[in-house]
């Protein structure tokens, strides 16, 4: 397809990979944190809550910079992960995924938490009387009932990841084929006079992908709702 340059295409593919990875990998943690915030009480709960929201509050550039300081190869966590397990984020697509995941995390957690809070505790109690431990109650009652919330959280995270720019470029910069996501490419084209044409093409690709995901999630959610209402 010569409608887009090969470089642009590789940005599209990379963005998809980054967004999907960011969403899927952070989902379990998101569910866990949302559950903790919704149902448990523990010291430091408000600190955790604040931490989760931080990427929403901070300008993306600052988040990116903090990521660089923490997860860069010279950073405490980044250095440790590199040495112990060979996990490197700096200048890798994994770093872009990390940045996207961090930026999307507050949205994901909030959506999931909201659905957890809407689950009738009476049903969880019923499951407990039937012999289900807290973990099983969660897995067999709470989790299936919050699927719409998880779906919402995931789709918000995916969309956010598709559009994330500031933190990503600050953290992993823009290496074509490795860390150049769609938004970085779009940004670059917008910086030069006359670059709007290509930028718009990329924007359209990005929108098309996200809209497809959105539509799919709506269909899925409708099916879930229908199952619950029993028809």
């Amino acid at each position: 397809m010569d409608w887009l340059t090969p470089e642009a295409w590789s940005a599209v593919v990379l963005s998809l990979r980054v967004s999907l990875t960011a969403t899927l990998v952070s989902l379990p943690l998101g569910v866990f944190v949302a559950h903790a915030l919704a149902r448990w009480s523990f010291p430091g709960k408000q600190v955790l809550n604040g931490l989760v929201h931080l990427p929403l509050i901070l300008p993306p550039v600052v988040t990116g910079y903090l990521l660089l300081l923490t997860f860069g190869r010279q950073g405490p966590v980044g250095g440790f992960l590199d040495q112990c397990c060979g996990i490197v984020f700096a200048f890798r697509w994994t770093g872009a995924a990390l940045a996207a995941a961090v930026m999307a995390f507050p949205l994901m957690v909030r959506a999931i938490r909201l659905s957890i809070e809407a689950v009738d505790p009476g049903l969880e109690q019923a499951a407990a009387t039937l012999g289900a431990s807290r973990l099983w109650v969660f897995a067999t009652v709470t989790l299936p009932m919050i699927l719409p919330g998880i779906l919402t959280g995931a789709i918000l995270a995916f969309a956010k990841a598709m559009g994330e720019f500031g933190a990503t470029i600050t953290f992993v910069s823009n290496i074509p084929g490795e860390t150049q996501t769609l938004p970085s490419a779009i940004y670059a084209f917008l910086q030069v006079p006359g670059g709007e044409g290509t930028a718009i093409k990329l924007v359209l690709v990005s929108v098309a992908v996200a809209m497809a995901a959105l539509l799919a999630s709506e269909v899925l959610a409708a099916r879930m709702a229908r199952r619950l209402s029993g028809t």
Binding site: D120, L130, G131
Partner: protein, 363 residues
């Protein structure tokens, strides 16, 4: 000693302070709306953490605030039929029913799925989801779910309230069998005297969060005062007898301590001991032995007590052999007949006035 309960708990505006011991069999919790029945059941289930108290089931402590002991609900092995069904909306009826099985890895076969489904009439609903069930259907699934979880203790909070009488009549004998065969103690909340009289060995009457009266079902249900305060109209007494013959015309002949009586066919073997509840209002008293009358059961008695009940009636306590009977008649009749303590008379009881749900095997 099957179940010991002693709990104290304060809600804003309501104080629960209840202590009772429930032997094996069915213990009925009676009491007016808001008297604390569900709260007691919740404390046993572990859904209410009492301010202070102790719950011991079959020798095993479930809560003991003094010893800081607390067993989580899922480790109590209880089957709880909630007042409001609480089915899992995301699971089919079949999955709801089997939910407890998942976690019931401990021994014992437990009741058979197919049998419970048949009994509760759930076969056509198995693949449906709770949202589309009718009120009674939901309640039946909830009963099945609790029973199928192979509990060690059944808690039933008005399990039959949403059901029609025919369906109740089908389920009651089954609960009786659960009680007898599986030997599972049952804590049973109900407003229906006949249900309770049939099932319960023990009756606890609650009033405003306290135990008003506790004791053997026979005693409590025969006591017009405790019964009335529990909102019960149908005062009655329970007599016991042994089955002699099953007649071909559908009647079962029974020998009680004072006479032979006839009941609609009882589903128990010859020789079995059964309990029959006879409502005080169904007993007619006659000074002479009446003849040419459709009532088959005429028991010779002696009056041991006469009390004014509520309204224009008096409650007459009778001894008939070793059994106690209660009769509720109008004050007018009592005066006209000159009844007094010690008067000998006949209690006339229609066979058909003993409803099937008032006959139970001795639990």
């Amino acid at each position: 000693m099957s179940l010991e309960v002693a709990v104290r708990h304060r809600f804003p505006g309501f104080a629960l302070d209840v202590a009772f011991t429930a032997p094996d069999g069915v213990t009925a919790l009676f009491g007016r709306s808001g008297s604390g029945k569900t709260s007691v059941v919740n404390a046993v289930a572990g859904l209410l953490r009492p301010d202070a108290g102790r719950v011991v089931a079959r020798g095993e402590a479930l809560v003991d605030t003094g010893a800081r002991l607390w067993r989580a609900p899922h480790r109590r092995r209880i089957g709880y039929v909630f007042q409001e069904a609480r089915l899992f909306p995301h699971l089919s009826v079949r999955q709801n029913l089997l939910y407890g099985r998942w976690f019931a890895r401990h021994g014992g076969d437990g009741p058979e799925f197919d049998h419970v489904v048949d009994l509760l009439g759930l076969a056509p609903l198995l693949s449906r989801r709770p949202a589309t069930l009718s009120g009674g259907e939901r309640q039946r699934v909830s009963i099945g779910r609790a029973i199928l979880s192979r509990p060690r203790l059944l808690l039933m909070d008005e399990p039959l309230a949403a059901l029609d009488e025919a369906r109740r009549a089908e389920i009651l004998p089954y609960l009786e069998r659960v009680r007898d065969e599986a030997g599972i103690p049952i804590l049973y909340v109900s407003h229906s005297v006949s249900e309770v009289a049939r099932l319960a060995t023990t009756v606890i009457v609650l009033d405003e969060g306290r135990v008003l009266r506790a004791g053997a079902a026979e005693d409590v249900l025969s006591d017009p005062f405790s019964a009335a305060s529990a909102g019960i109209r149908g005062v009655g007494a329970v007599i016991t007898g042994r089955i002699d013959t099953h007649h071909s015309d559908g009647l079962t002949e029974l020998s009680t301590s004072s006479a032979q009586i006839f009941l609609p066919r009882v589903a128990a073997a010859v020789g079995a001991e059964i309990r029959v509840r006879i409502e005080a209002q169904d007993v007619t008293l006659s000074l002479t032995r009446p003849e040419g009358i459709s009532a088959l059961n005429i028991l010779p008695c002696e009056i041991t007590d006469i009390r004014r009940g509520e309204g224009p009636g008096v409650l007459v306590r009778l001894r008939s052999g070793a059994d106690t009977l209660l009769a509720r008649i109008t004050q007018r009749s009592a005066e006209r007949m000159g009844l007094a303590r010690g008067t000998a008379c006949h209690a006339v009881i229609k066979t058909v006035s003993v409803a099937p749900e008032d006959i139970g095997r001795r639990g």
